[in-house]
Symmetry: D2
Subunit: 337 residues, 4 copies
């Protein structure tokens, strides 16, 4: 039974805590650290079997019985805590993004090179979604031939508060970053160049905060294929997460999951269910799977599924997209790194 | 250019007239006969190119230049006019049902045996539907293996007037007769025994007229497979015409056609189009195809696609279903014929 | 934390054990009893947290700390153990069918009347399936109007061994019993009369064992609606579990669940995934939900979702279907009870 | 009965000739002119009822009984013949593109300003497709709210011969031009700026001919929305023609039409039909509808559905896309016009 410490008990920290305590067989959450840990969260975690609670995460890093940590704190703390955890000899699962600053991610990368015995996995959970896996497998198995065009559609059911938008790093580093990783994961290729159109159509306050809420981002991949992502912070019908992989021999299209397969026909039409509401519903199994994969990598000394390089590249593409939007021109990734 | 005479200019007579004049290359409607032919119909047919109009259909039978007749008059006249037309040396396309009385259909069959040079096709148009054809082909090509269970769902968008119900011969001879033919067409087998449940759920007036409006009819086929039809005189969402053919190697399912492929997702769900409204919409191409097939059979001396035996068997099954409903027991077709 | 004892550690006993230990918050499996309990099962259950193992289930009935038992033993022991458990003051979750013999189910029913403080739930798991629930809700919410025709399609991916068939009680009590319950659950009505066609198309050995493998069963419901079930012991494409509820205002159709939403288009066609393989895949969440519902009923003194009457009626319909098949006539349920 | 002359009897000229002679009620093709008119074409057209054939199209322009001409000749002759036809007082239906040269289209536009009594319609047939119409109507009716993102996917089943590619004006003016028009039609907005990625993935010979075969083109619309088109000259599964219109209140998605609704489930999966093979299959009804609309505009003095401005703008966008691809930067339409 592997002991895990969770740093940060916000929404995503709780998701991982519950995943591990309920669905993961060979690991347990020994301790949770959060400077703002309240009684309600403590009671909830206690009922799941968690025994130790700290406000200072260093207590977790000092605990010799804790083998791995999950960094679920605010984005600006990801890279410094990663460095401390690596120095403390802990395996690390770090939520995305590792940092908004390339230099800081490179520091983590450097620290990891000095500790080849430690596993470091980045929280790109969508790679573990059963649907996207099926698409990736279709391509890998040669069913689609050579990749020609990859299309990612990713829309949230509603925009987060503007207060969040302001510290989010912008839509490309906050929301599209998952789609950038999906492009790399699906294509098996690095991105060479990116061109972004973005605009404010959902909420003017988002624009006033210096961000956009609707975007179309096209990309040239190093393997010669093209890719395009379209994003929106609000889809009236819910969380829209689709992918189309078009190759020389065929195409695979991934649709949304629904609460049920019920189709109602009546005088007004033929009605099916909306997509599952948001990421907790759509990706719950993926969250469990990514933690299982991380624990498997640690326990059996396997390579992690989503390494620091993936964490780095997604941010590089995001910064390139940001620059493209700002300067109104295509931007090569080599301009960023 | 083959000359055709149409006997009966009601709804279905007009459908065939327009089909031939607009979509059939090598035939033309030379004359239409209808005792109640009004000026509006005449003007409409004239605009399509029809030149001769009679109230007495014998004028068509006497016309040496007319090679084939379409019998689209009321059901009770189908078999007597068929006999006259055969005697007059005309090829015949007869709307369904040939008659409600087995003995009268057998008379037509006998007359045809004496005139092997004449073609006689019955108007089971659904055999020419592109969807049902695809299902039949899947079975014939061995994609489904041996037939196990055949399911036919057939529902009208709304019940006809009770005045029509009263002279319709009952739901089994009026509406289900198409589905009985579909069972024979799809399965490639005769029916051995039938058991019918029927009830009145749409309109009590239908019950008062001695008929039912909702039915489930199960069947044993001579090839060992089972079949089941469900009918209703009213589906709120329109004309529901589906078939499932389940075999040892697979299943083919036929859905409804729609006006467009548009799927709208909004806050209330994911909405597709209803089925095409009724038989004129769903089967328009099938009506053209059945006439083309008939003309092809006449012109090139090929066997017709839907022969008098098919016209007979559908009525036999209908009468067996009627008896089953009345007597509350399964009825063998051998009890009817 | 409610203590539970599981009697019978075969496939379904293990399903429930894992459900409770992993997904059910407020209950735990204290003990498992099985006369043939092997070391492998013990090790597996131990790893889940089960502490006590017996060969004699009386040890569970005697344990004052165990509040409820799950009867997962062979069918012939369901009713006698139910009686003993009730006498011992245990709440009971009993796998289906309660018995093949009406008289024995009535004995359990009588015992329960004497113990109104005890909950007794029957294992009709499909009522807890997210899809079927959605269909039931659509009807309950009035979206479909009055029920007209209910259609249940239920096919297994492959037939069980003939050795199993021989002790199964026949297809109607073994397999269709779930569908009979579904008819009652969906319609909210009792069945009045049943007519069954059955045949052997999958494996002659099933016929030699005195059973059938393919069936179409039609029913008259007491609320005036009609229902039809079609079954087959083998569907080449997997576990086919669909329902259509057709009412005066609309229809709801339930399709199969799949491993992914991936749709591959290539030169040979457009390909989607097959249904989830079998009941463990399709109904895993339903198994968890039914146990949660049982525990909720016990802990909060609520009526159970699937009571002894449901256990009884499904068997009554099954025996009526058997009699119908044997005697070739429709059978009223009043002939059985 | 309106007399029409067809100039150019290649594939598309024949499509229109057959449409008019078979499906259009109030018009007839009086004459066909083609410098390379062969006997086979003559015989075919004669069988449809066409009486006059010329090698010189001026004979058609001189015919006082001919009210309208269809220009179906090679692209380079579209604008000069248009000018002559207008001068001759004919209404004109001109196949797309009007010209590759903006100046020449402007000449036609100028000529039309001097002849407001003449109708001039451009052959963007997709506007008349039943599916795309349904999408446009959903937006117009406010079901989707304000347009946010428009996505057009357009792929051919296979590339044309390289000899054709060489004179085609490039993929943007030959193939994407339809999609550019679709963006204007669907959005009801002009395009402001375009950015194109293009590459050669289908056939190196296309690249050697100076063209590309795979493209992703993103656009900023004047109404503030974004649009993206993806094209490929070859889709293994056939003619892929889809549109998604995403708005503030909902989305409409248009799928492909198929030969049948048959869905086959077998041991390898669940299989549906491929899209209709190519434009003649997918858009046959649209070809009839556009001619009917043109005749309606002429006969009843209504505005045409696709005017010269639409012919102009699609070419302007195409040239902007070409420039974008060449110069690797977004290009405003104002740079072209």
């Amino acid at each position: 039974m592997m002991n895990i410490g969770i740093i940060g008990a916000g929404r995503i920290g709780k998701v991982h805590c519950e995943s591990i305590m309920r669905y993961v067989k060979n690991a347990t959450v020994k301790a949770i650290a959060d400077p703002f840990l309240n009684e309600e969260t403590k009671a909830w975690a206690t009922s799941l079997g968690v025994k130790e609670f700290y406000t200072d995460y260093h207590r977790i890093l000092e605990d010799k019985d804790i083998k791995a940590v999950l960094i679920c704190s605010s984005t600006d703390t990801h890279s410094p805590i990663s460095l401390e955890a690596i120095a403390a000899g802990k395996h690390v699962f770090c939520e995305k993004p590792v940092d908004h600053d390339i230099a800081k991610i490179l520091e983590v990368k450097k620290a990891l090179l000095a500790h080849p015995e430690l596993k470091y996995q980045v929280g790109f959970n969508r790679r573990f979604d059963h649907n996207f896996r099926a698409a990736r497998e279709a391509l890998e198995q040669g069913k689609l031939g050579e990749l020609n065009v990859l299309k990612v559609c990713s829309r949230d059911p509603g925009a987060p508060p503007v207060s969040y938008i302001k510290v989010s790093g912008g839509i490309f580093l906050d929301m599209t970053i998952h789609d950038f990783d999906m492009v790399r994961y699906m294509s098996g290729s690095e991105v060479e160049e990116v061109f972004a159109y973005g605009t404010v159509l959902v909420d003017p306050a988002i624009g006033e905060a210096g961000d956009i809420d609707t975007a179309v981002i096209s990309m040239k991949l190093r393997n010669g294929a093209l890719a395009v992502i379209d994003n929106c912070r609000r889809a009236s019908y819910g969380y829209d997460q689709r992918v189309e992989v078009f190759g020389s021999k065929g195409q695979v299209a991934i649709g949304n999951d629904t609460v049920s397969s019920a189709v109602i026909s009546d005088a007004t039409g033929v009605h099916a269910e909306k997509p599952l509401f948001f990421f907790l519903e759509r990706y719950m199994q993926a969250y469990v799977a990514e933690i299982n994969a991380f624990i498997d990598a640690v326990e059996n000394d396997k390579p992690v599924s989503v390494d620091i390089e993936s964490g780095l590249q997604a941010v590089v593409i995001g910064l390139a997209a940001k620059k493209s939007l700002l300067e109104g021109r295509p931007v090569k990734l080599s301009e960023i790194q």
